[in-house]
Subunit: 344 residues, 2 copies
């Protein structure tokens, strides 16, 4: 078995973990769940040299400093510096053009948490076997709740170590999500993909020929700078940005899915982050100087001032510099709309 | 009618409004409800020169600076600086010995809020008429809820403009407090008293002769310093501290009560403070940079950092320097037991 090439996408920041996540220091580069950052954990999951080649990170100019600082502990890391963000399909295509056509790529977001890296690695190997047969494989995350914030993947006929994809389903409403969980043959689409570089580029050229051609030129006319590669900005700027789901996965007839249960979370908001951290006997999660009295399932963290809390349940309290956030878990998904998050 | 002599007691700080109220800057000297501090408002309520003589403030060494700074706008204010705190009976006795025997004293705490100062002044005049007949008069605050944190006064037979006191009742349990409200002849004891200085000292000498004698000597051997008076520390230190309720009011047969409804609050904790402030359409009270989303009856105030809140109800959030407090209204009475409040 040849080694799997990790391709780590390190793009937009998001605002739903404000005020801890800020425009200048966004989510992937913060130690949100463990002592390491989400980006460092992503690299570490792919650090087994028996299974993985050194990683390739696709990032933007603004994040390059964070990427290079945190990737320093992972020898052989290559960085592709996008001149501008064009969503995931062009980002993946850049990496695909930089790899041999037969290289099997494992495309990973850099801002998710995976509690069980062993299951992750085993799923990567299973997906790589399918990819070697020119399947374009999605990880199918085992759903644990009727989430309406994720896309779903409906499984079809079994193929070696996985299933054909019968349908990619956009974010459902709650009733539909509950039905999906009841039927049992749906997974969450976690944005983790495995395919041969050449197979991906063939499908991209079939369904998005202009994008494929523009990325090809951006790479051809790009320049090396040590371990960094700069695609040509003029060529890359012509691309109409699009997600890999829309551009390729929903169009190809070679889509497969490998179901996996690995304690996955997209850490999409403070509610999700609380649930990803281990709690004490009362379900509380604290960081920094915090005193809790008669609290349950409270997340409280501070980068300086002491937080003292009495009598609360299912609330997140975050102190970061000149910002103090207090939200119910139910309200956590609206954090990104707060003035402080919007006007960064 | 001779003028009433306000005697403002400005003593201990308390910890239940921590972290805004601190040992070095306690509750009376903070603008908690209005733009003026509670102490300034106390002086202003007694500033009508047609009704009141200039005030006499009894305070401790630690608070003297605050007192003199905030009393500067009230000409003629005299200050008695207690060498140590001995509770309210000796404090009042100090003022009584410094006044003519026929002076009618109005004894007021300096850390309460009174929304209706006109009713306060009218009650003071009614009480002063009784005091001129040598009654020792308590203001009887009209109870608006079955509070278990206050003492109650049971009314007896009517006397001119008020009632004899039938009984002073210590803090009741909830069932008893509810019964008191139902019966309708109980008032809260708000610690506001009106009596002739000479009448008070006679009753003190009758029921606490050693205390009366020690205070007399402390005044006799004290020294003037401008508008300040320093009782003799040696004599004063011999006193066994005791409240005016225990030492005098519960023992005298000349206790009377003047019922009054004047929007009184002892601002005893963040719950009481929230209720004393006017709210917006959703019942929220904010000070400083605060953004509230889908909140009701929330008190949020900050001396610097922005507070952003989503989805909370009946919660107080207070940012002060290096402390952040978040408490339910029900938990507000336990604020004084937090580590930050205890270890100041």
């Amino acid at each position: 078995m040849t080694k799997i090439h990790p391709v780590v996408l390190c793009g937009g920041s998001g605002t739903r973990l404000w005020p801890r996540s800020r425009a200048h220091n966004p989510k992937p580069f913060l130690p949100l769940v463990e002592e390491s950052t989400l980006f460092e954990c992503t690299l570490r999951r792919c650090a087994d040299a028996g299974r993985f080649a050194p990683p390739m990170v696709v990032t933007g100019v603004g994040h390059r400093g964070h990427v290079e600082a945190q990737a320093a502990a992972f020898p052989g890391t290559q960085v592709i510096v996008e001149p501008m963000a064009k969503n995931t399909a062009p980002a993946i295509a850049l990496a695909a053009y930089r790899l041999p056509a037969d290289a099997v790529m494992l495309v990973c977001p850099s801002d998710h948490h995976i509690a069980d890296p062993t299951s992750f690695a085993e799923a990567a190997s299973a997906a790589a076997r399918l990819a070697a047969e020119d399947w374009l494989v999605s990880f199918g995350i085992e759903p644990t709740a009727p989430e309406t914030g994720f896309g779903y993947i409906r499984r079809g006929a079994p193929v070696d170590g996985g299933f054909q994809v019968e349908q990619f389903v956009e974010k459902p409403d709650l009733a539909t999500a509950e039905r999906f969980l009841g039927e049992g043959n749906y997974s969450w689409n976690g944005g983790i993909f495995v395919f041969r570089a050449g197979a991906f580029l063939e499908e991209l050229a079939r369904h998005r020929p202009e994008m494929a051609e523009a990325v090809r030129r951006a790479v051809e006319q790009g320049r090396e700078e040590g371990a960094a590669f700069h695609p040509d900005a003029g060529a890359f700027s012509q691309i109409e940005g699009e997600s890999v789901d829309y551009a390729v996965m929903e169009n190809t007839v070679r889509a497969a899915v490998v179901p996996v249960s690995m304690g996955w979370s997209d850490i999409g908001n403070w509610h999700a982050l609380r649930d990803a951290r281990p709690g004490d006997a009362n379900g509380n999660r604290t960081r920094g100087r915090v005193e809790l009295v008669d609290c349950r399932n409270v997340l409280a963290e501070t980068d300086g001032p002491r937080i003292s809390v009495i009598g609360l349940e299912d609330v997140a309290i975050v102190v970061d510099g000149d910002e103090v956030l207090v939200t119910t878990m139910a309200g956590a998904q609206r954090v990104g709309k707060l003035s402080g998050a919007v006007n960064q």
